[in-house]
């Protein structure tokens, strides 16, 4: 978000005084209580270990050494990495396709479609997961009814093999419209002159999409992708809710966040859960930063 400074800076340079800091102080206060203090406390706590005999003692980075080789943690990290590599491109691709089609003006009922596709963003992830969970289920779900009516044997989306794609579908459903609107807003902000220039050069629709629209979309695509990557690593709500309906397919360490949640309630593993939470946060930051570097390099090429 480095470019913020260029847009937010006032052209006028007023005298420097403390008034501005007073206005921003309440934010800094809640930011300190809600972000800095918890992270600092968790980081500190992760350096200790609770023992049955002797109570809490300082162990340095031992918890981190354990996290690095913890099969349950690594299992969860591998799963969300796989999820990320498959689900994010599908969702962003769909969102991009819809945004480009809506922007082309070649379909009818655009207002309705834009709203309809954005609508799932209004649905809490818990309700989204419950709804899809019932649809997936065989009690009164659609999959069971389709099988009964047609004699097909569609596999249960809640089975061990299919539960990860099934979660991917819920997440895609929730956020495809949100990403579409971000991209669509960026498309609508392309100045008319660019299209006129392209038309004078004799560019067709596809050429226009490639040489005018896609470059203009790059910052928005980047924002959408970054937040989707972060969301994947932090996956918790959907698998946690679906776990009730598919207890055999979703373990307590299905994602790293579910694992940290599980550990936090185990009296002997509180400090270890802090280490897991810190490592997960660091992985998220590193992946997001790497993605940013990759995008930056492509742009400078």
């Amino acid at each position: 978000m480095g470019a913020v400074s260029t847009t937010a800076a006032a052209p006028r340079r007023p005298a420097r005084n403390w008034t501005g800091l007073v206005f921003v102080a309440p934010f800094l206060l809640v930011f300190g209580c809600g972000v800095v203090a918890p992270l600092a406390y968790a980081a500190g706590l992760s350096l200790y270990r609770d023992q049955l005999i002797g109570g809490r003692s300082f162990v340095g980075l031992e918890n981190y050494a354990d996290v690095a080789t913890d099969p349950q943690f690594l299992d969860g990290v591998g799963r969300v990495a796989l999820f990320l590599v498959v689900q994010v491109p599908i969702m962003i691709g769909l969102a991009l396709l819809v945004a480009l089609v809506l922007d082309s003006g070649r379909v009818r009922g655009m207002r309705f479609m834009r709203l309809g596709i954005f609508m799932p963003y209004a649905v809490p992830s818990v309700v989204a997961a419950l709804m899809w969970g019932f649809i997936y289920g065989d009690r009164f779900g659609l999959v069971g009814q389709i099988n009964a009516a047609t004699g097909l044997a569609l596999p249960s989306p809640l089975s061990q093999t299919w539960v990860l794609p099934a979660i991917g579908n819920v997440v895609t459903w929730e956020f495809v419209g949100y990403n579409m609107l971000i991209l669509y807003a960026a498309l609508r902000a392309i100045p008319e002159e660019l299209y006129e220039a392209a038309a004078i050069d004799g560019a067709g629709e596809i050429r226009k999409a490639l040489s005018v629209k896609l470059p203009a979309l790059r910052p928005a695509l980047w924002v959408a992708t970054l937040f989707s990557i972060i969301g994947s690593f932090q996956l918790f709500n959907e698998p946690n809710v679906l776990k009730t309906l598919a207890p055999g397919s979703i373990s307590t360490h299905f994602t790293p966040n579910m694992y940290a949640y599980q550990l936090a309630f185990n009296a002997n593993q509180v400090t270890y859960s802090a280490a897991v939470a810190v490592v997960l946060g660091l992985i998220t930051i590193v992946v997001a930063y790497a993605a940013q570097r990759m995008t930056a390099r492509q742009e400078s090429r």
């Binding site: 400074s5 006028r12 206005f23 928005a220 924002v223 937040f227 309906l245």
Partner: protein, 316 residues
Amino acid sequence: MTDTAATSSAPAGRAAATAPGAPAPRRRAEARSPRRPRTNLVLQALMVLMVVYTLLPLYWLTVNATKSNGELFRSNGLWLGSEISLWDNIVATVTYQDGIYLTWLFNTALYSVAGAVGATVICAWGGYALAKFEFPTKRLVRAIVFGAITIPATALAVPTFLLFAELGITNTRLAIIIPALVSPFGLYLMTVFAADSVPDSLLDAAKIDGANAWTTFWRVSFRLMAPGFATVLLFNLVHTWNNYFLPLIMLNDPSLYPLTVGLNQLNSQVTTGANLQPVYNVVLTGSLLAIVPLIASFLFLQRYWQSGLAAGSVKQ
């Protein structure tokens, strides 16, 4: 004097907020050319499929919330049952276990309103300061806070729980409201809105009139920032309304639960058979009622959503 100035330029502020992300004069109109491009049938079919995909689960929920428990298992999931029991289901939902659903609804509303209004006012002050004032440490503040935009709320849930457990304030309403007051993305949006909608000349005029910074903020700047305020408020409201991980980890008293945690707990009781009555109709109707206020806010406040998303994506 300052009042008149604020009122007279109010329409300009409003216009800016409908598209704060786009430079207004050069923005394309909805229809780019006077002649509409021809409808493309393949693209049209594709979009219809997409809308069916996004609306089908909501349709499914609505249809099945009209069925009694027995009817749920007997009837086709995509169509109405032999009788409409929506009203009975609503009554069953709000009276279930002495009205626990209404308690959850009240909690959700309380957490959302207290958290979102507080967070948005704090963001408005902060955004105003970052856009319109020079002060020592400003660069540092901006770097830290905007860097924090990418920290997801879920990453903070476990650390916040551990800290609050140490302080002994888990299982209280404050444990949900305090974290909800922090919104780095809201601060970023308010900075953009403040920079776009509050002209420096107006602040200078207010200063010449002898108004202090506090009065100037509420009498002049806040009014101009009001549309942006509404956008950020909406984002924060929905964010807190949908919050799940934090209340799940913080609360163990069901009378403090918000709807998300309550509904999921009810569903696990029903699904695992821990609850003797299989009240699937309460779970389904409760889910439907929980999203009605959000869907309504989307339909009626569309332009605020659009302007927020535009500002967040284009202003990079």
